[in-house]
Symmetry: C2
Subunit: 168 residues, 2 copies
């Protein structure tokens, strides 16, 4: 933790223990950059369909809000959701963050971005879905960031979205 | 702003200006309660279809991510989205937050909740949609909380969602 009272740091440390202050803007920017990098890397991992590597980005109590099916509550439910997604015929996905914002205390932030998801329809023709998402990121004890909550939805009319295999 | 270094407050104030510290847990809980109360009141206002009162909960740069149409970027776009929604035949909506979390610095928080939205189909029969949402709340200069970002999606299969009037 970094203290903003630069001139007082010595005195404060000498006199007793304090709670951490909010972070300087440069540290806040570093947190935003860290979330951006993590989100970009996460998308690259998702493209490789490595289930456990994907799930490693979630907190244990993650909640995923996918369109047209109920919420997946907890890491195991999120794992099963991702397992079902990457098993869909012709599945490929990419996403990237457009806006990141982190609280001054550096413990909580969010990413807003866009995704593109392709599956293969029952006629063998690729079906492309484009949409948008919110992720809530929380800083972990080891300084890394993980996703505690996410929601996504399509930009396209209902017909093109939510492959039937996810709706059962 | 509240300082956690209770024994040092006098000295710190005497010696110079500092950045605010993170808040005690009681203040963080108060922020969570404030967001919860605001979200519940917002739902009550939405039920009354008072467009400007609804829109007053948004920051100027709000981004709304509705399902099956592109994002509404900025307060005016969010206003037009809400105008279209409350004009739908038989429109009623309720929502309530299930989980609120606020950063230690008290400037940023989120709500996750569930909604129920009813419209009247072209055959005159009510169509009920149930789903879930994320809202990002930001504390304003006056201490109130406003929504800077939200996303929602349905728990139900695509057929029942996204009334056609919002898809044009």
């Amino acid at each position: 933790m970094i203290y903003r009272c630069f001139g007082l740091v010595g005195i404060v440390f000498a006199l007793g223990s304090c709670g951490p202050t909010t972070q300087p803007r440069t540290v806040q920017s570093a947190d935003e950059a860290a979330i951006r990098a993590a989100d970009v890397t996460w998308s690259e991992i998702a493209a490789k369909k490595d289930l456990e590597a994907i799930v490693a980005y979630y907190t244990d109590d993650v909640v995923v809000l996918p369109p047209n099916i109920p919420a997946a509550i907890g890491k195991q439910a999120a794992r099963e959701l991702n397992r079902a997604m990457i098993a869909m015929p012709g599945y490929t996905v990419t996403w990237h963050p457009e806006r990141i914002e982190v609280a001054r205390s550096g413990d909580l932030g969010y990413a807003r971005g866009i995704y593109e998801l392709t599956t293969r329809g029952s006629d063998g023709v690729p079906v492309v879905d484009k949409g948008k998402y919110i992720e809530i990121w929380k800083k972990q004890q080891d300084g890394t960031w993980k996703v505690a909550l996410e929601a996504l939805n399509s930009d396209l009319p209902p017909r093109a979205t939510a492959p039937a295999s996810l709706n059962r």
